[in-house]
């Protein structure tokens, strides 16, 4: 310690230091001193304690020290609960309707044979582009929830099946041609959002077709109510039996009666 530091000591600190320095050497018990010396010299020294025996067993929780385990346990339980709910919430997987199980399907542009539906269904993953082959329309079914009928020339991105309790809003995009949509009894409370280049179509439980036409997007509704909106405009409710056309340009959407051909197509979709 430098002289400088000494000069900075307060009077109380100096007193304290002096008090410690003046503490006397505590004399040990002569009996204790002698006994210990005898043992030390004779080597009568017990073996080092096995700390695994003397230390209390530290109880562990979740493989962690108990306090950490207690803090982590609610998180772990929540994670398990979320995982279980997530698994239970998942809707059924997409499958191919038997009646259309022939020909080929295009998945992300790659042909997949429909004669072995199991093999084809393995590639039906949400987000993939699905298009019907030249041989005919293909109908995809999410049991009790949605039916998607893709005629030749049509291509959509496959939506995720709506969940049982949450994740009830699902999205897909119509990139080519047209798609027929029908909802099932388990679709109640769910939403399907179909996006085209010009329009956003919100499906709330109905049977409808979304068709890309040269002028824009046409939405034909058989049953229920659909809301269709241009990309940058207000939405229009399309009731059952009506057709709404959303244009590329600034023309406002139109609303007309659907014709018989469209009605027949929609009824076939509704029958799934």
């Amino acid at each position: 310690m430098s002289r400088f530091e000494d000069a900075r000591r307060t009077a109380a600190e100096e007193r304290a230091r002096e008090a410690v320095r003046c503490l006397p050497q505590p004399p040990a018990s002569p009996h204790f001193r002698l006994a210990l010396k005898e043992r030390f010299v004779a080597g009568e020294v017990p073996a080092a304690p096995d700390l695994r025996e003397v230390r209390p067993v530290r109880r562990r929780l979740l493989g962690l020290p108990r306090p950490v385990g207690i803090a982590v346990l609610p998180l772990a339980a929540a994670a398990v609960l979320i995982l279980v709910l997530g698994l239970l919430n998942r809707g059924p997987a997409w499958r191919i309707a038997d009646s259309t199980a022939h020909g080929t399907l295009l998945v992300d542009g790659e042909p997949v044979a429909l004669d072995s539906p199991g093999a084809a269904e393995r590639v039906l993953r949400p987000g993939r582009r699905i298009a019907a082959g030249e041989t005919g329309a293909v109908t995809l079914v999410c049991p009790e929830r949605l039916v998607l009928r893709i005629p030749p020339g049509g291509e959509i991105t496959l939506p995720r099946p709506p969940g049982r309790w949450f994740g009830r809003t699902v999205r897909c995009a119509l990139t080519r041609g047209s798609v027929g949509i029908s909802s099932g009894p388990e679709f109640t409370g769910a939403r399907l959002l179909v996006a085209t280049e010009d329009a956003d179509v919100e499906v709330l439980g109905t049977t409808l077709a979304v068709i890309l036409i040269p002028e824009g997007t046409c939405i034909c509704v058989l049953d229920g109510v659909v809301r269709a909106a241009p990309k940058h405009g207000a939405g229009t409710a399309v009731p059952a039996g009506r057709r709404c056309t959303v244009f590329h340009d600034d023309r406002p959407p139109t609303l007309e009666e659907i014709d018989e051909a469209e009605r027949e197509t929609l009824l076939r979709i509704d029958s799934f």
């Binding site: 310690m1 430098s2 002289r3 400088f4 530091e5 000494d6 000591r9 307060t10 109380a12 600190e13 100096e14 007193r15 304290a16 230091r17 008090a19 410690v20 320095r21 003046c22 503490l23 006397p24 050497q25 505590p26 004399p27 040990a28 018990s29 204790f32 001193r33 210990l36 010396k37 030390f40 010299v41 004779a42 080597g43 020294v45 017990p46 073996a47 080092a48």
Partner: protein, 219 residues
């Protein structure tokens, strides 16, 4: 060139200043005495005579430090016994090239720290009253002091020891090693395995706190 206060504080401290030549230690200061190398070599071989010499050489310092750290004769005896048992078990590993004192001090500190952490010690500290602790030394009358002076000295020792025990353990260690055992900051840094600056800071805090406690308790 005249230095500012800041420059003076930052100036590297020389070896002589480490030993605080400006403030010579009083006779009561008790540095651990060095021991002959031949004795240490014989201790490594656990020769009885060397063990006895080693014991006599260090017992008072070990017991004294343990007593001041723990504040209890019973605890100090337990700790001292454990310390010498550890020394005996590890005797074959003593390095005769080095002074065993820092090693012995380290064992003493570690043993006392284990005692501090023990349930026994925590219970005994809670049960302490101002009248019962710390235990005074045996009643050995100093013929040069009259009974009143002797009593006053014992009371003062008790108050100082109590104040030391009220310090946080990290500060208690430093102030006892520095002012009771007479180690310099470098030796304390080696024993405690902390930096020199950390030793200085802890020592300053220890003195400040001890000064405050004693000011309250000693009129």
């Amino acid at each position: 060139m005249e230095r500012t206060a800041m420059q003076e504080a930052d100036r590297p401290v020389s070896d002589s200043e480490h030993r605080d030549e400006s403030l010579p230690l009083p006779p009561e200061a008790r540095p651990f005495p060095s021991i002959e190398r031949t004795i240490v070599e014989a201790v490594r071989r656990r020769e009885s005579e060397a063990l006895g010499q080693f014991f006599e050489h260090y017992f008072d310092r070990v017991f004294g430090l343990a007593f001041r750290l723990l504040g209890s004769r019973t605890a100090a005896e337990d700790a001292t016994q454990e310390i010498f048992f550890k020394v005996h078990r590890a005797a074959h590993r003593i390095d005769p090239e080095r002074d065993p004192a820092p090693w012995l001090i380290t064992i003493t500190l570690n043993t006392c720290r284990s005692y501090w952490r023990s349930a026994t010690h925590r219970m005994s500290r809670r049960a302490v009253t101002i009248d019962s602790s710390p235990e005074p030394g045996p009643e050995i009358a100093d013929p040069q002091r009259n009974p009143e002076e002797e009593f006053a000295a014992q009371q003062r020792e008790r108050i100082v020891q109590e104040a030391i025990l009220d310090l946080p353990e990290t500060l208690r260690e430093v102030v006892l090693l520095r002012d009771y055992q007479g180690l310099d900051h470098r030796e304390i840094a080696t024993v405690l395995q902390i930096g020199h600056d950390a030793v200085r800071k802890r020592y300053s805090r220890a003195l400040a706190e001890l000064g405050r406690l004693l000011q309250e308790r000693i009129p």
